[in-house]
């Protein structure tokens, strides 16, 4: 079976399965499907139609495409806000006609014609916007009415202006240049379009009103509740859509110097199809200019090709209709199932072979043998606090802990009955450490490294480190900052346990078992954070050794403790001090006798160890079973282990049966007592230590008695 395991290891540890899930978390991942579809369409049509890719053909299509894409862009913005605009065809035709009329009949300069065209379009859009945004009429019906009325107006105007326009001749090089000219090989109208598209993209993705538009599309009510002027922004989207018809109409006018009875007919269906095919959700909130552009390219390419291949207009409509139907179904299915797909493919387990460990069974007689010494601790804050991952005491013996509500709680000595919210951080506070200036330094889950000064002011010390070049997810972000300690050089050494999961999904990381954790260092002098070590298996607790040159840190899923030298002659070296433990280590802290306390968050089980050797089985498990049914390490039993500087185990404390401390994630010795916290617990335990120094505190151990 050695060969099987080697193959399994090669397959699951070196083939980067996890990238698929990471790609799917990207917002732009939705664009891949329309992009592939576009490339496929072009490839197929280039084979079917001779000269499809010739410069002349491209240039002709380019001019038409420019006008079309500008309108798609406007409608995309309307749709991102959750609306729809059916009146674009009519507005476009009117604008085109008026632009030509202004140039031909009134002999106004070309920029004036442009302004008129855009203004007329915007006015129609404003009419839509007022009715839909302020009077709250249905977008579909309102724009349908504008479409019908607009068409009627166009027909009347065409009747009046058509013949006079045809009888005049304009001699304007600018007008001709816009209509027929090229810069290099690229038609002017396409350049025009590029400018519009880029501005629209920046507007929707980088500007405040753009974000408001997306927010309204995502949830109108929430957007209203956060104070966005929904009426105004919705109205604005229709004005933009109308104005984009104006720009497109102007370009059309310049290209053909006239309009006909068929101008703009059926355009709304083409535009709508383009948006939906591109992946802009009909429900609003999801979409981008790039999506609209891709959709526009697909629809227009197919439409024009069908015409060139000589199909009747009926066939054309049929193809468009089918595409629209298919895209709508896909949109709804994908929207509903995207998170499910992501959930299913995200976990990409790797092969891990755990070495056998000494038993921790109470009757085993090993140094790891668990007992029930933690079962009857004195309880602090039972039922009042939720999730004290770490606990710490200050020089006045007050007790601090984080909660999953994002608070740092303070329990007052000596009773520890009264408590207050010391500060509210927002994220889940995990590791805690007092600095020399008595500030409380905190690792906050999914946020970063924070510091709370004695007067309660909160400072963000670090939220990012350097990004690695080949990572798909943004690994500059601190995803699961877990525990920290402060070195003799004043730097803060801390762990970021995984780049794959957020802090609350820490246990899921054990199922995947991919070593992506890091040890980082924050330098308060420069304010910069650097990555010291990477590729660790859920690095967790950090604790300074007594030599002032090194620190211990736990690697939870590998069940080991390492020592890393950050200065001195062994600088940069790492040694494994304890390996192959029967439990998963969490925080590490100093003990009064010069040794170290380490928490066990859970215990290894034979079935989970076996499962770690079988990544394919784990992968199927994560795909086929709901999360609640996944096999986990046994994190219902934890403990506290004391070890010396050489990694020898001195004693082990446990709570067999899990009465008060099923999972232990931290412990802190203070004046002869041990305080015990657990990330999934709702209490802190206090245990009197026999024979411990009753005056010893962590702060004096780090910063001296006068600190």
């Amino acid at each position: 079976m050695k060969i099987y395991e080697a193959i399994s290891k090669a397959r699951y540890n070196y083939v980067p399965d996890h990238i698929l899930g990471e790609l799917l978390t990207k917002r732009w991942a939705d664009n891949v499907v329309p992009l592939l579809f576009l490339l496929l369409t072009i490839a197929v049509l280039a084979n079917l139609i001779p000269g499809f890719l010739s410069p002349q053909s491209m240039s002709d299509s380019g001019r038409q495409l420019g006008e079309f894409l500008i309108i798609v862009c406007g409608v995309s913005i309307v749709m991102i806000a959750g609306g729809i605009d059916l009146s674009v065809g009519s507005i476009y035709a009117i604008c085109a006609l008026l632009a030509v009329a202004v140039v031909n009949l009134l002999q106004w300069p070309i920029p004036a014609a442009f302004a008129v065209s855009v203004l007329i379009g915007a006015t129609f859009g404003l009419l839509n916007g007022l009715l839909i945004g302020y009077l709250k009429l249905r977008a579909f019906l309102t724009t349908l009415i504008t479409f019908v009325i607009g068409r009627a107006i166009y027909d009347i105007l065409l009747d009046q202006l058509g013949t006079p326009i045809q009888l005049t001749y304009v001699d304007s090089p600018l007008w001709d240049f816009i209509g027929d000219g090229s810069v290099g090989q690229i038609p002017v109208s396409l350049l025009f379009t590029a400018v519009v598209l880029v501005s629209a993209h920046v507007f929707i993705s980088r500007s405040r009103p753009g974000w408001h538009i997306s927010a309204i599309g995502g949830s109108r009510r929430s957007a209203f509740n956060t104070g966005i002027n929904v009426k105004k922004v919705v109205c604005l989207t229709y004005v933009i859509s109308g104005a984009s018809c104006g720009i497109a109409g102007f370009l059309f006018g310049a290209r053909l110097n006239g309009t006909g009875p068929g101008t703009g007919i059926g355009l709304e269906i083409l535009v709508l199809t383009a948006c939906v095919v591109g992946g802009i959700s009909l429900g609003g909130g999801r979409g981008s200019i790039v999506k609209g552009m891709l959709g526009g390219l697909i629809v227009l390419t197919i439409n024009n090709s069908l015409i060139r291949m000589g199909y009747h207009s009926g066939t054309n409509q049929m193809v468009l209709g089918l595409m629209l139907a298919f895209a709508v179904i896909l949109d709804i299915r994908w929207l509903r199932n995207r998170h499910k797909v992501l959930d299913k493919v995200y976990v990409a387990p790797v092969y891990t072979s755990m070495n056998p460990a000494l038993s921790a069974l109470p009757e085993s007689g090993t140094p790891y043998a668990l007992n029930s010494k933690l079962s009857d601790t004195e309880l602090i804050g039972a039922g009042e606090i939720e999730g004290p991952e770490d606990v710490i005491l200050d020089e006045h013996d007050h007790l601090y802990c984080g909660t999953r509500h994002g608070d740092i709680m303070r329990f007052f000595a000596p009773e520890y009955k009264e408590s207050e919210i010391y500060v509210h951080i927002g994220g889940f506070p995990l590791g805690l450490a007092f600095g020399k200036d008595k500030s409380l330094n905190i690792c906050v889950g999914a946020m970063g490294l924070y510091s709370v000064a004695q007067d309660g002011t909160i400072t963000q010390l670090s939220a990012e480190t350097t990004r690695s070049y080949l990572s798909v997810v943004d690994d500059a972000r601190l995803r699961d900052p877990n525990d920290l300690d402060i070195g003799s050089d004043g730097n803060i050494y801390f762990t970021d346990s995984t780049t794959r999961y957020d802090a609350h999904e820490w246990a899921t990381d054990s199922v995947e078992n991919r070593p992506t954790g890091r040890v980082l260092v924050y330098d308060p002098k420069t304010g910069k954070t650097k990555t010291l070590l990477r590729g660790l298996s859920y690095p967790n607790g950090v604790c300074m050794a007594n030599d002032g040159e090194s620190f211990f840190f736990a690697e939870s899923w590998e069940c080991r403790v390492n020592r890393f030298w950050y200065r001195g002659i062994k600088e940069g070296k790492m040694e494994c001090v304890i390996r192959d433990m029967p439990g998963y280590p969490d925080n590490i802290n100093r003990a009064s006798d010069g040794n170290f306390w380490m928490a066990w968050l859970g215990m290894r089980t034979p079935t989970f160890d076996l499962m770690l050797k079988r990544p394919a089985t784990r992968r199927r498990m994560t795909r086929r079973l709901p999360k609640d049914d996944w096999l986990f390490p046994n994190i219902n039993t934890g403990g506290v282990v004391k070890f010396d500087e050489n990694g020898n185990i001195i004693e082990t404390l446990g709570d067999l049966g899990g009465k008060n401390h099923p999972m232990v994630t931290s412990m802190r010795e203070h004046k002869g007592y041990l305080y015990i916290g657990g990330i999934l617990n709702n209490r802190i335990g206090r245990l009197k230590l026999q024979g411990a120094d009753a005056n010893w505190t962590g702060i004096s151990s780090y910063w001296g008695d006068n600190a």
């Binding site: 034979p606 609640d628 390490p633 046994n634 219902n636």
Partner: protein, 341 residues
């Protein structure tokens, strides 16, 4: 679970009659409650309160099945595969079934004083190693009729996935057999007049013993609930093979009589204790479940002990003087269930 299986706490609310290590095989012998605990055959006086179980007899091996018949007939099956029958003062021993050694007598039942029904759970494993049969996808179980007058043996059904319970329906024409690994109850006619029929299928648990009530209904004990992780592991042949090889049976991903005793047991995400609460709906390898079947064998009511409780592993039961008693082999107690049928 929904409908008739809607969870409740009726087993947790049931009165404890006695606490004893791994009780099993409860039967009514002339109005007395007899049961086994390991290799001991015990009797409980139901009239005096706080009565301790009284030892009737002790065997070399764990008792795996008991049946009482008319005219003081008694049959006892042991973990080593032997069956002892006591009948009108005579002791008969049956070490063989068909042409093979009897391996796994999981349930016994008298049709009349001359004919004994035997469920052989598997041809390959002992009753105490039943999970091994599940992990090997066993289907070698069979049901036999032993004629006690002439010793003839007649197989009435074979190829079963661990038959674990048997009940003779009135008029002695038909029997019900619980087929554990296939989560169903089979109806078998004794005279061979009708083919084997599935009377109840897709049970939500692993069916164990069946017993009749005085009002013509049948009680079905289920020793554990089905679990999606177990069903998943049952499809993972290679993982199962490795698990059988490398892991102690009590720590397998398999239905168990009790859980939460030891940190080496498998844990599923939903079973993680949060804020000191073990959720009752958490997935668990053990569960307490008793189901009452109506006259046409359709389920009517159920009695539960959920994940956060410990009265799990309901393996057997009987009715004594219109009261229903069940053994919680995982919870180490015998319960009196308020069964208003």
């Amino acid at each position: 679970m929904d409908g008739y299986l809607r969870p409740n706490n009726l087993l947790d609310e049931a009165a404890i009659v006695t606490e004893v290590h791994q009780p099993d095989n409860a039967i009514n012998v002339n109005g007395e409650l007899w049961f086994s605990s390991g290799s001991h055959l015990l009797k409980l006086n139901l009239f005096s309160k706080n009565a301790k179980p009284e030892l009737l007899s002790q065997f070399d091996e764990e008792i795996s099945s008991i049946a009482a018949g008319p005219a003081d007939c008694l049959a006892i099956g042991l973990d080593n595969g032997k069956i002892f029958v006591q009948r009108s003062g005579n002791h008969i021993e049956f070490p063989y079934i068909g042409d093979q050694e009897l391996k796994c007598p999981t349930a016994l039942g008298f049709i009349d004083e001359n004919r004994l029904l035997v469920c052989q759970g598997s041809e390959h494993v002992k009753p105490s190693k039943m999970n091994l049969d599940l992990m090997r996808a066993g289907s070698s179980g069979s049901v036999w009729i032993l004629d006690l007058t002439n010793g003839s043996q007649n197989c009435i059904s074979s190829g079963l996935g661990f038959p674990y319970g048997i009940v003779v329906l009135h008029k002695a024409r038909k029997i019900l057999v619980s087929e554990c690994w296939r989560h169903r109850i089979l109806g078998i006619s004794l005279d061979g007049s009708a083919p084997v029929e599935t009377v109840l299928s897709d049970l939500q648990g692993y069916p164990a013993r069946l017993f009749p009530t005085s009002r013509g209904k049948t009680m079905l004990c289920l020793f554990a609930a089905r679990n999606r992780l177990i069903e998943f592991v049952l499809k993972e042949d290679e993982f199962r093979r490795k698990m059988i090889e490398a892991v102690d049976q009590k720590y397998w991903i398999a239905p168990q009589l009790k859980t939460g005793e030891n940190f080496l047991e498998p844990l599923q995400q939903g079973g993680v204790k949060t804020m000191n609460i073990h959720k009752p709906w958490a997935p668990s390898l053990s569960y307490g479940l008793l189901v009452r079947l109506g006259p046409n064998h359709s389920p009517e009511a159920s009695f539960h002990s959920r994940s956060n409780s410990n009265r799990h592993g309901i393996t057997s039961g009987c009715e004594v003087q219109c009261s229903t008693f069940v053994t919680s082999k995982g919870g180490d107690c015998i319960l009196e269930v308020s069964n208003d049928c």
